[in-house]
């Protein structure tokens, strides 16, 4: 049995474009494509359900759907794997949910000019399985690596765990085909080149189509960077007696200048307490261990071995104790686990409760990390004490700059939320917690997000404040490219673009 929520005329036109198997109106198909892994107001789920799900296979089908949406004034929300953490793929006004999972072809592997051209619905892990025999890799490596997709990575302007070595998503796309909000199809790259890494012809348009969260169109093909498959991987986890020593050590390691350095990550005392309580690698670690710094390196063995020896020297001389090969290698290999395992948190009594994971992220400079950490934890503690459905899972700071990992960090505080307890009061409390965290970020000269995007409630209210005059430019671009406001309407406060 299906539940029709769209007009017969619209349904018939969609079937005409996609065939019956490409148009889903049943409740499970629509309700399962509503939320993302971020905490969600589950008590108000039905407010975010799309009216219909479509599964195109070709660029032309996507363009026809978008043109139909313009004719009928129907919202279109693109969705890849739905693993994003800022609700970009969550419909705010029903309409057509455009799921790209059937657009999963590898169109070309070019081993001469070192690119691979794909459709947006392919997953990076599956892509790299195909690339591995050729000795190359597409090095975009988010925590959601086993389940996220290229199209979503572009729409979010994703952040990679090995970005210091290889760059983040926006650094790894040579060009892409985009269906604009009017249904026109363009290709954006470096100048007009499909496989170029740098050009100076005309405006640099390509960055506009990273991080727009589906508000400026749908990417339907992307030509991606290929790098040599690494010969060697090295990971080292160092333990420290206090956070400040670990913070200084992080700075020294990040400034080491090695091209093979893929990332440095600093875990604070709250994170260690969480790991000591609930993670097999840390439960039996000694009491003096209060902070951990992890380093990862990739490249040719001839480069990585001497660089890794030097990293070990810097780690030791800056106060770190090596935690051993088993923890270092095992924890690094487990870096995608958050998307694969059910999580539990603790109430203040220590009692276990099933909790979903929220990581509130920001981009912040190295110099302010210790002060931000104290203020963020104080905010979290206030809400934990008052409401009893939250748990502080600690903070980490991760080198942020592609190829230049020394000056700024992706900073996250992980907070467990007992979603089944959410009601309007609790949800509003959560949003207020996010708002207070965001205010600290902006006060210290940071950005609301390094990784996830900032289009969720609790973040988005501060986007005009952070961007200033640039937000007015955002609105003008949105109105110019999407005159009927059909692409993911309601996101990023962009309805303001149509107010006059």
């Amino acid at each position: 049995m299906t539940t029709m929520a769209i007009s017969d005329a619209l349904y018939d036109e969609l079937v005409g474009i996609l065939g019956e198997d490409g148009v889903l109106t049943g409740k499970p198909a629509r309700w399962n494509r509503t939320r993302t892994p971020a905490p969600f107001p589950v008590h108000r789920w039905k407010e975010y359900v799309p009216d219909v799900v479509v599964l195109p296979r070709t660029t032309e089908q996507v363009a026809e759907i978008v043109r139909l949406a313009n004719r009928t004034g129907t919202p279109v929300v693109p969705r890849a794997a739905g693993t994003g953490l800022t609700d970009g793929a969550t419909p705010l006004r029903g309409g057509i949910l455009l799921d790209v999972k059937r657009m999963n072809e590898i169109r070309e592997i070019d081993l001469v000019d070192r690119t691979v051209t794909v459709q947006p619905g392919i997953n990076m892990l599956k892509l790299n399985e195909v690339l591995q025999p050729h000795g190359v890799m597409f090095p975009d490596n988010p925590a959601s690596y086993p389940c996220s997709m290229v199209g979503g990575r572009i729409g979010t302007s994703g952040w990679s765990l090995i970005g210091a070595r290889y760059g983040h998503t926006r650094d790894l796309v040579c060009s892409m085909e985009v269906v604009l909000p009017t249904g026109d199809v363009i290709r954006v790259g470096e100048g007009g080149g499909r496989k170029l890494r740098k050009a100076s012809t005309g405006y640099t348009i390509k960055p506009l189509f990273f991080g727009h969260e589906g508000t400026l169109g749908v990417v339907t093909e992307a030509t991606l960077e290929l790098v040599p498959r690494p010969q060697a991987e090295f990971a080292a986890f160092f333990g420290y007696r206090d956070y400040d020593t670990a913070w200084r050590s992080t700075g020294a390691l990040a400034k080491s200048g090695f091209a093979t350095l893929a990332g440095v990550v600093l875990f604070d005392e709250w994170k260690l307490a969480y790991l000591r309580r609930d993670d097999e690698a840390y439960i039996e670690q000694p009491d003096w261990l209060k902070s951990v710094v992890a380093v990862a390196m990739y490249g040719n063995k001839a480069e990585v071995v001497p660089a890794a020896r030097e990293i070990m020297r810097i780690g030791r001389e800056s106060g770190g104790s090596y935690l051993g090969d088993e923890i270092s290698q095992g924890d690094w290999a487990a870096r995608h686990d958050r998307y694969a395992i059910p999580l539990h948190g603790r109430l203040r009594t220590g009692e276990v409760a099933p909790m979903s994971w929220h990581c509130e992220d920001a981009a912040l400079n190295y110099s302010v990390l210790p002060r931000v950490r104290e203020e963020w934890h104080a905010i979290a503690d206030h809400y934990i004490r008052r409401y009893g459905i939250f748990d502080d899972w600690g903070m980490f700071a991760y080198t942020n700059g592609a190829y230049k990992p020394w000056g700024d960090y992706l900073v996250e505080i992980d907070i467990g939320i007992w979603e089944q307890k959410l009601d309007d009061e609790m949800w509003e409390a959560w949003l207020n917690c996010k708002r207070e965290i965001t205010e600290v970020t902006l006060r210290y000269g940071g950005s609301i997000s390094a990784c996830h995007g900032a289009s969720r409630a609790g973040d988005v209210e501060y986007v005009p404040q952070e961007l200033g005059g640039a937000f007015d430019v955002m609105k003008k671009i949105k109105r110019a490219l999407d005159p009927n406001n059909v692409m993911n309407p309601g996101k990023y406060l962009l309805d303001q673009a149509y107010e006059d």
Binding site: L125, N128, E129, Q132, M137, N141, R229, P230, Q231, A232, E233, F234, A235, A236, R276, R277, D278, E280, I283, E284, Y298, K301, V304, V305, A308, R309, M312, G315, R316, S321, Y322, G324, D325, Q329, G330, A333, A334, H336, H344, R346, G350, E351, V352, A353, P354
Partner: protein, 88 residues
């Protein structure tokens, strides 16, 4: 013979490791059952616990191999197990 009933291969009684954690098999930790009153702890036969843990090691090995040909440890760098320089 493996049985698919808990009684066919009942796990040993837990040993306390910390205030929060107990252990039935070496290096396999469980939340203290006393802290799982709201949501009861699931009974798992011993063979299933070992299957899950073995799968976990397989997964980690696969992930290493997926990203690089070789994983370097301290011996590959010519360092001691604790990361220190060997005495000359």
């Amino acid at each position: 013979m493996f049985g698919f009933r808990l009684s066919a291969q009942k796990p040993p009684d837990p040993r306390r490791i910390t205030d929060d954690v107990v252990m039935r098999f070496d290096h396999i930790y469980e939340v203290d059952p006393d802290k799982m009153a709201i949501f009861g702890q699931q009974d798992i036969p011993a063979w299933d616990t070992h299957r899950i843990v073995d799968s976990r090691w397989d997964h980690l090995a696969w992930m290493h191999q997926h990203f690089a040909d070789t994983v370097l440890g301290m011996s590959d760098l010519g360092l001691n197990e604790d990361g220190s320089e060997p005495e000359q």
